[in-house]
Amino acid sequence: MTNLFAAKFFENIGKIFTNPEYLGNIGIGLVTTLVISVGAVILGCILGTIVAFVTISKSTSPVMKVLKVLCNAYVTVIRGTPMALQLFIMYFVVFAIRGFPPEITAIVAFGFNSGAYVAENIRAGILSVDYGQTEAGRALGLNYTKTMTKIVVPQAIKNVIPAMCNEFIALIKETSIVSMIGMIDLTQAAKLIGAGNALAAYLEPMLVVALFYLAIVYALTFAIKLLERRLRAGDKR
């Protein structure tokens, strides 16, 4: 009985990796997941950085005041509503244009979502750097921007790396809901393969796809660990 089960299991796995249709599905799914993840991480980081610097700015100019209100509202709304809803709003409302590439819709939706979390991470990271560092820079005659870029931000980056790593991992896994707007990502590919006549089994494709996610997350974690070790070369802690 167990032998039979195991034989079937490995046969199915073999099918997934040999059947061109299945392979195609997984390939498309992998590309979709990666494209959305990378795009959203980039957009999220850019957006998050801008929002973080607006929210920590001490400027009292009217423009900045308005920007601050907008940024705070953005963070509150994004963090207070479900990702799936945000995705639907992007798909059915904001980019409800015939033939609009759904990849872009997804990248924007996930990027906007991630930006709010990234902004909070960066803000916390910058505030975690002793204010004396800023004062020392300013007292020597560096302007605000240079003090930030040369002294505060490099220290903040070290502090935010773990939180950012978590955010990126969460983002990659969260992209698995794009099937809700009809896209084929890794998760949806597994479902399609499982539902196919030739296989009619869900366990194997799901497991295969799970390994793909694990591999992506592991690779990311590894890369970030390397980066972190490099940045921390200076401080013996």
């Binding site: 560092q133 020392a136 007292a139 020597l140 005659g141 560096l142 240079k146 002294i151 220290q155 013996k236």
Partner: protein, 307 residues
């Protein structure tokens, strides 16, 4: 060299500095003493504008660092709408004589009646003219004023050598080669050249403070401000920092030092300022201040620290 004119500093409705004025000449070694919370740090930080004074002006070598304070300029007060209004009122009531303008100006000053935003064109023009004529960019001013903090604030993400070189190179005051040469000379002078490639976290407090001083000196400042530079140090490290400061003083550096080290004050000060409750309570030579105190507050303070 530094002129502090009628400075007020308010923190949440509480005045920490009150109508404080003082002149510091080139080459002077000013030591500021006073009870904790009397506003010594705030005064020092107002001088290089790490704190922005609520009222008053700070001048460095004849250049204005703060925005102009209208209350210090009679002609600006007289150009304001508030003044015109008060004058009109007085005229209507018919009680104008030659003292009226001075009285109105005094009233406006005393009651802080000016409101930046609606004092009219003339007022704005005068303020702007004054600013343009005398103003010096704060970042330029700070290059000439070194500051040492109680907690050193060495840049944690740079080595000792980089700490010294960073700002002069960033501001293009020196080339990399010049900055490095100069930094090494300074480190040799304080006996820490062997630490040049070490990060601040690996240094003792005394070493950190001496390097912080060297970092300021690398900018070739005109004046050095010290805010309790030895207060965070273990006793055995206080001496090495004070020795370095004394050497600086003997070389003729203009210095303003907030400290509780009274023997050091006696040794190097050309002038001691005793502050209390946000005001300069007494000023004099070390001999006058320590041996012949005039005010009760100073006597009390000296009594306390002698115990």
């Amino acid at each position: 060299m530094i002129s502090v004119r009628n400075i007020y500093k308010k923190f949440d409705d509480k005045y920490v500095l009150h109508a404080l004025s003082h002149e510091i000449e080139k080459g002077e070694k000013v030591v500021i003493i006073g009870p904790s919370g009397s506003g010594k740090s705030t005064l020092l930080r107002c001088i290089n504008l790490l704190e922005e004074p609520t009222f008053g002006e700070i001048w460095l070598d004849g250049k204005l660092l703060t925005p102009p304070d209208p209350y210090l300029h009679e002609e600006i007060i007289k150009s304001s709408k508030t003044y015109q209004k008060l004058l009109n009122q007085a005229q209507k009531q018919g009680d104008v004589d030659q003292n009226t303008p001075a009285q109105l100006v005094a009233k406006i000053k005393a009651e802080d009646l000016l409101n930046e935003k609606n004092e009219g064109k003339q007022y704005k023009r005068l303020m702007k003219e004054y600013y343009n004529k005398h103003h010096l960019d704060i970042n330029l001013a700070r290059q000439q004023m070194g500051m040492c903090f109680q907690h050193f604030n060495l840049f944690a993400n740079y080595t000792v050598l980089q700490n010294l070189m960073l700002v002069p190179v960033e501001l293009k005051l020196l080339t990399k080669e010049q900055a490095e040469k100069r930094a090494i000379q300074l480190l040799e002078r304080i006996g820490l050249a062997d630490k040049k490639d070490v990060y601040p976290i690996q240094l003792s407090g005394g070493q950190k403070q001496r390097i912080a001083i060297a970092r300021s000196l690398c900018m070739d400042p005109q004046i050095m401000l010290f805010d309790e530079p030895t207060s965070a140090l273990d006793p055995e490290m206080v001496k090495e920092v004070l020795q370095l400061m004394q050497d600086l003083a003997e070389e003729g550096m203009t210095m303003v030092v907030v400290t509780h080290e009274m023997s050091f004050a006696k040794k190097i000060a050309s002038k001691v300022i005793f502050m209390d409750e946000g005001k300069i309570c007494e000023v004099g030579t070390p001999d006058q201040i320590f041996n012949h105190p005039q005010t009760d507050r100073l006597k009390e303070f000296l009594q306390k620290i002698a115990d």
